[in-house]
Symmetry: C2
Subunit: 549 residues, 2 copies
């Protein structure tokens, strides 16, 4: 059996390695158009930032090491230019020798990845504008920073890679400005969750321009002028363009392989493309989202690796294993904070037309009485009746990754908020609380489904009609004194039962507290004491203040 693999990194190399482990006799040729295979894409920003010190560490395998361990014919500088599916052969171009040749295959695997978007903005071809996808891009950016010791950079696009680059350039002493066309960073997250990062950027003295798109780049001496849609003009020594990537489908499209509405190569659950004996994995593919069932893309290393292994097995043993799709679990360290998402945000649920409800829980990374606990904000989105878990978002300092993993485990299996309650986590004081934040989110969500309380998002809370609402601050008088909403009345939760007469029955009651818990307890008392329109501010005052800041 002769396999040709196009692309030698996450999806391609993993397919090759597993293929060899299950079929020692196969002929495996892996073509990579660049000079490197098996590199740590995800580590590239950290190498630029000097966190990862040795360039060698980025190269998980070299063509030589990989070739000898797995007896694979690794060809670098080797681009697959065309596919002749009828005759099962590919046209190959070696950019070093200039040579073009043909190679036949029995099975062909495409793992071409994705390419950074470079829209036709005037001036986009200026030399000081960089994108980051591979080791060569990394070398270019790193050399620029090392050689020129630039003072300032503008990062355009505040997705995961943009934010990682902002942090890493900041670490190099570069004054960083982030420009984002959306109203928030990390656009896959909901705004009140992303807003917590906005605050953190301020703390880190990274300027943030939101809701503002680049209109033009103009060289200005050795610098670049960046003109924004709002009319603002920024200037910096260089620009990182990280406004997203798109599946690299050029080769596939030329060969008549079907691509989809999201722009990826369409594969079925066995990772077969529309053309017989041609398969695809990685950033290039389009596949139904496990929650929405709609075509979706996932630019993630975990899925690419896992697909590679499934595909290798299916090619060798027959189609025994189905790929289940990616729920888009993603995480980024952003300076001292960490933010991530798994499954769908409210925004995405809205767009998909699915009915949903959501809630925010504020909880400690571990037991409050054990030193070092840090607050985290955890949002879950779920079906308003069945409680099926649709998505989770977490922002905090510590233990964010763990909660995302727990949420992802439930979402991936089609579980619900009751499953969140039942998660039997490992608890000792340094690690969690007797009820983990994810359990609390499950409890909280059940309370909403059962109608025990009505949650209110920070934005709805903020845009309240002042005449018809009674705003109730249930924190202690000391907390109230430090800081409160203008129209709030303070009745501490523990004395509400004795002060019911101070609360009007003909208005909506909007309760808030620090994080949402005391507000919930207060809401329960009022609901049972005959107050019907009682709402509790989701996530409490801190989340709200960040959200509307």
């Amino acid at each position: 059996m002769k396999y040709i693999i196009v692309g030698g990194v996450a999806g391609g190399a993993t397919t090759a390695a597993r293929l060899r482990r299950v079929d020692e006799e196969a002929e495996i040729i892996m073509c990579e158009k660049g000079p490197h295979i098996s590199y740590a894409n995800c580590g590239l920003p950290y190498y630029i930032g000097g966190v990862i010190k040795e360039r060698d560490k980025l190269l998980v395998q070299t063509p030589e090491s990989f070739g000898s361990r797995f007896n694979i014919d690794v060809r670098i500088h080797t681009e697959v230019k065309d596919i002749d599916a009828t005759n099962k052969k590919v046209k190959i171009y070696n950019s070093r020798t200039g040579e073009t040749y043909y190679e036949t295959y029995n099975k062909l695997v495409l793992s071409p990845g994705a390419s950074p978007m470079r829209p036709p903005i005037p001036g986009i071809d200026s030399p000081n504008i960089f994108t980051l996808r591979n080791v060569q891009d990394t070398d270019r950016i790193k050399a620029f920073v090392d050689d020129n010791e630039p003072h300032s950079a503008i990062v355009i696009g505040a997705g995961f890679i943009g934010l990682e680059m902002a942090e890493n350039l900041h670490r190099r002493g570069v004054k960083v400005t982030v420009v984002e066309a959306a109203e928030q960073v990390m656009n896959m997250m909901d705004p009140e969750m992303a807003a917590q990062l906005h605050q953190h950027f301020k703390e880190m003295e990274v300027a943030l321009y939101l809701d503002d798109a680049v209109k033009e780049f103009t060289p200005d001496g050795h610098q670049l002028k960046v003109s924004l849609g709002s009319g603002k003009k920024l200037k910096a020594d260089f620009v990182i363009l990280s406004i997203g990537v798109k599946p690299d489908t050029r080769l596939a499209q030329k060969a008549g392989i079907e691509t989809g509405e999201r722009g990826g190569i369409i594969v079925n659950e066995y990772l077969e493309t529309s053309v017989k004996d041609i398969y695809a994995v990685g950033d290039g593919i389009e596949f139904p989202h496990p929650v929405t069932g709609k075509p979706s893309l996932a630019f993630l290393a975990g899925p690419a690796n896992k697909q590679g292994r499934i595909l290798a097995d299916n090619m060798v043993y027959g189609n025994l294993r189905k790929y289940q799709g990616s729920i888009g679990t993603a995480i980024a360290k952003v300076f001292d904070k960490t933010a991530g998402i798994t499954g769908l945000s409210d925004k995405a649920l809205e767009a998909a037309g699915l009915p949903y409800q959501s809630t925010i829980v504020n909880a400690g990374s571990h037991a409050g009485y054990y030193p070092g606990a840090m607050q985290m904000v955890l949002k879950v989105s779920f079906h308003p009746e069945t409680g099926r878990l649709y998505g989770g978002q977490v922002v905090g300092y510590k233990g964010v990754d763990k909660r995302l993993d727990m949420l992802a485990a439930v979402i991936k299996k089609g579980g619900d908020i009751y499953d969140l309650q039942e998660l039997e986590h490992a608890y000792a004081p340094p690690f969690s609380s007797a009820k983990d934040p994810v359990n609390q989110a499950g409890f909280n969500a059940e309370n909403i489904i059962k109608g025990l309380f009505k949650p209110l998002s920070p934005y709805k809370f903020h845009s309240r009609e002042k005449e018809n609402t009674f705003v109730l601050d249930v924190r202690t008088p000391e907390e109230f004194q430090l800081d409160h909403l203008d129209d709030a009345t303070n009745i501490e939760v523990d004395s509400i039962r004795d002060n019911l007469d101070r609360i009007p029955k003909d208005k909506k009651i909007y309760i808030y507290c620090g994080v949402g818990l005391r507000g919930y307890v207060a809401a329960r008392i009022l609901r049972q004491k005959g107050f019907n329109e009682v709402y509790n501010l989701s996530g409490g005052l801190k989340v709200c203040k960040d959200a509307i800041a």
Copy 2:
């Protein structure tokens, strides 16, 4: 509706709080025989060790704060002495006033917890022998350490609490010796996993006596002499006895409530005892294990809290919610290491008579190229054909809690090793690898089920018959030179294909490498090159050395 709750800590107080939130009008009396409610049992060792500095932090709620927030009649120093189930009343004793009185109930909840075992060893009543269960015990031990500045302590029993006490006393400058009757610490774990802690104790200069039980305590001046079964005699300023706890069923048994073979109060899935309108939660109950179906105990705060909430709802809304049982997820920080288990160990599977297979994976806490990654050892046990996941054990420095939580999520839902593969974890270099250690364990387990390689436990590897086995070290010559097994031949994995003639076909091939991965790759090559009896050392050389040390 009038509720009486017996016990005011994890199970009891949580039941009370939830009861109030769902029924504002109920009468709720919570009786606690001690002077404190709602204390952080799990934090007690850390307060003694000075990690938690303020005693107040241990008291999550006081009778006053709890009473006023939840409008609950909290009675401390108040022991429920007898239950008259026919007339639905209890006999109550106030240890402060000496008063005895009766109180009727509609529903009675038992959350009496468990009591430390104190076997009738001669001398066990010496004043310097302490057990640790509640705040009073804590005050006693802390005062002893503060006042006497003792030089030495013997901790008897190396379960979670024993080990936490060892660490915390060590932190106080006390020279600690740990004595354990079993052959290993943390007896719920498998020996090769626990063995990694044995090594760590040596590094921390904590003496460890295993497989040795205490026979006698003899006062010796202000010290205590501890005589062991082996004849060894130890001496120390004081002793912490932490050899386990048993459900506190005295009250229940007097009332004719059924207890089970494991010694706990039997409850059904609605947490009802055998007597109508009497319910039980917490350490006191016995419930079928979700994996074995056999009666089991769980001395864990998470389950106690979660049961309390389920029970409150069932009492108010009717039996709508089933308790699903605990898989015994537990974790402890042990000096710089962390160790934990979820589900069943091989030992427990053996005892339960379930067919099982297991494997050990050694993996980094996050991507190796990002600084700070630490190795962890992760063991999974599963059904040898279906792959149903039975248990997981993890020992390491970082990220142990996270992997236990991911494993627990799968075990709790009756999932299998393929679910482990599919876990879509949050990956960026500071948090994990593209394939998380739990994914790797899933892959590895599948390979075993499919017969792709045969794993060998460190003990089986160690007790090999030297004549019939060819031991193959597939690490680099440099690694081999530093340290290898006496009877090993070194052929690096990458050159095996060229050295097949050096490997005998008529012997069992026992392969080892550093952590198990290269050994597996080598095993695959040999298997496909016609070698049939090929075994790979599970977890590699390091785990093996610790296990047999």
